[in-house]
Amino acid sequence: MEFLNAFVALSNYVLIPGIAYGSQLALGALGVTLIYGILRFSNFAHGDTMAFGAMVTILVTWWMQAQGISFGVLPTALLALPFGILGTMVLLVVTDRVVYRFYRQQKAKPVILVIVSLGVMFIMNGIVRFIIGPDDQNFADGARFIISARDFKAWSGLDEGLALRTSQGITVITAVVVVVALFWFLNKTRTGKSMRAYSDNEDLALLSGINPERVVTYTWLIIAALTTVAGVLYGLDKSFKPFTYFQLLLPIFAAAIVGGLGSPLGAIAGGFVIAFSEVTITYAWKKVLGYLMPEGLEPDGLVQLLSTDYKFAVSFVILLIVLLFKPTGLFKGKSV
């Protein structure tokens, strides 16, 4: 019983939030890694692109809610998601044509493109704040829980309740669907194969008749889908605030680098590594240990290794350790 209680408490506060957060990070890191692999620069505007996609989705959600359209127990935001993706696709393709293409044709150094992406970041940040404002926005509706703590207690007879929020369930399912679709696209379709070829060796790909502009456009379209899905899932699970999206940049980059920049599989692994280390290190273990330790040995304090405010420090330290001992990341990434 004690062991089961401990396990339920652990799932409730560490495993489930970790898996949900990890899926969100993995989607974000997949985007970063794709841009790095194909366009060959680190995109600092990624967090703000996520915010933009989420913002368009939220606006459409609000409109749908006002029209009385709903998705039953699921959040309306899922219905609005395709519109958000479309809006972000338009934004990213326009940005590429107006801003990035010039530097690609100049064959500018990657670091110049990084600085250009800083400018794009400022502009996107400005647009998002201009349209929706810098405050928290709530857009989640539908059923709140798949399994609520009280039902679980009544069903299992344990002291600990297990709660699974709808947003967490949706996050994991959506992430799995998106990742499967992405890998199918990259590995099985002609366009996906040409993208991988372009990423592996640009000159050889050009020689074999791959149109680089087409590859780049497709990449941006995929990025738009990935960022919007990641942004909406994060917003549903936590809350939408433009500044938090900017701050997500650090764990997302950490995930992509830990996994190995340019490696999609690595990005997913990296996302979960970062998410789980953040959650386990900032979690107060008192409850779980209280169930596991023998009578009289229960800890007095919270047994929290670091306060939650230091979660950035966790992703950062993991990043440093991986970089110092395995500079190309867990899965062999590339370096430009």
Binding site: I115, G119, V120, G133, Q247, Y310, F316, L319, L324, P327
Partner: protein, 434 residues
């Protein structure tokens, strides 16, 4: 138009812009822009040292600026004897133990041969050290923070003159930069960028949460000033009579006097830093730096120790940013960790350097003034613009109030636009590198 004439004209344009703000708004606004412009120019010189001279991509400027601000508190605030008695020594011992743990782990890593023994040893030292460190530190921190938490609740500073904190802020930032550089500088440019971004967030997190150090988000206010207080000036009959001689009322005269005094102090610092940066740029050392930046492999083949030189300039540039940070906190008279935002303290400085002209110290200074002016003035201009656009709309309509409320966010958009336009049409900046 010859080079010097053009550059002088550019500086004149900025001076005229600030003067226009003085005539149109108020001289207090104009002087505030000038003072912040001076501080921004010093930050821009610091980033220019790293990026313009050596090509190091440091996006952790905010962290070093905040460290400078911390130095201002630690140097100038009076010490809190009760807090020291309650747990000051215990906190210091705890910190020393923490440092000893890390040094011990590094020593084991460098001295012991690679193998399972070393890995186990390092993990044992780190884990054991962490718990001892927390065990010693936490009670001390609790004791310090419970001493008069509403007003103090921290250890206080040294009670020295605040000007001293400027060089000390530089030293503190430089010291932290050395630690970061030691670990992160061997990495590729993208990785260095992410590493510095993370470090800056961590430094801000420490400032926000370690209440015993600088009161965290409760802020430290009333940092002593290097210049007189307005209220003292207003009570000084000599000052009031000389202000009357200028035709000014004492209140306005005193605020202007204080701002001018700051401007004088800051100008001296800026000129010294600028002179040093120019000397460094022209020296053999500066030429070597640029050679390394332009072709690392060739410089290495010539026997230059690239990583070491990078570390050197990373520390120097960060120290300059720390100095500017201490000056900024002195000007504000308070340390408010909640206000440190990466867009404002890191990326805005980057816009200054790129727009001004990376690799040219005068360009960085010009960019500092110009971009700060825009940053401040875009908001009133935006509000004015929105008033014009919405003048035809019905009073109280939702769109109108939304547009008016959002005008403040125009500044981020404008900064991005300026950066992109300069990068596209004048990639070397307003005053290019020679």
């Amino acid at each position: 138009m010859s080079e010097p004439v053009k550059n002088t004209l550019l500086f004149l344009v900025v001076a005229v812009l600030i003067a226009i703000a003085g005539f149109m708004q108020s001289w207090n606004t104009a002087l505030l822009i000038l003072n912040m412009g001076l501080v921004s120019a010093i930050m821009a010189i610091g980033v220019n040292l790293q990026w313009g001279f050596a090509g190091l991509f440091n996006v952790g400027v905010m962290g070093f600026v905040a460290l400078g601000g911390l130095a201002a508190v630690l140097v100038s605030m009076p010490p809190d004897p009760d807090a020291w008695r309650a747990g000051g020594v215990r906190v210091l011992i705890g910190l020393a133990l923490g440092a000893a743990t890390i040094i011990g782990a590094v020593l084991v890593y460098t001295r012991v041969k690679k193998g399972p023994l070393r890995a186990v040893g390092i993990v044992a030292i780190l884990v054991g050290g962490f718990f001892i460190f927390r065990g010693v530190l936490d009670p001390g921190v609790d004791a310090v923070e419970s001493v008069n938490p509403a007003l103090s609740g921290y250890l206080g500073g040294l009670g020295l003159p605040v000007i001293l904190s400027w060089p000390i802020g530089g030293l503190l930032a430089g010291g932290v930069a050395w630690l970061i550089g030691k670990t992160a500088l061997g990495l590729r440019s993208d990785y260095l960028a992410i590493a510095t971004l993370g470090i800056a967030e961590i430094i801000i997190a420490v400032l926000k949460n370690e209440d015993w150090l600088s009161r965290g988000v409760k802020n430290v206010v009333g940092i002593p000033r290097p210049v007189p207080y307005e209220i003292d000036l207003q009570n000084d009959p000599d000052f009031v009579s000389s202000a009357a001689g200028w035709g000014l009322d004492p209140v306005e005269a005193s605020t202007l006097y204080v701002k001018l005094a700051y401007a004088g102090l800051f100008l001296v610092v800026l000129l010294v830093i600028l002179w040093m940066a120019q000397m460094a740029l022209k020296s053999p050392w500066g030429r070597m730096m640029r050679a390394i930046r332009d072709n690392e492999v060739a410089a290495e083949a010539m026997g230059k120790d690239v990583t070491r030189r990078h570390l050197q300039i990373f520390v120097l540039g960060s120290a300059v940013c720390g100095l500017a940070g201490a000056m900024l906190t002195t000007l504000d008279g308070q340390l408010t960790p909640g206000t440190y935002q990466p867009l404002r303290f890191t990326f805005l400085v980057w816009v200054m350097v790129i727009v001004g002209g990376s690799g040219n110290n005068f360009g960085a200074v010009l960019g500092g003034f110009l971009i700060w002016f825009l940053w401040v003035e875009v908001e009133p201009i935006g509000v004015y613009l929105m008033e014009t656009i919405t003048s035809g709309m019905a009073e109280g309509s939702a769109l109108k109030s939304h547009l008016m409320g959002s005008a403040a966010h125009m500044r981020l958009f404008t900064m991005g636009l300026v950066l992109l336009l300069v990068l596209r049409f004048s990639p070397r900046g307003l005053i290019p590198e020679k």
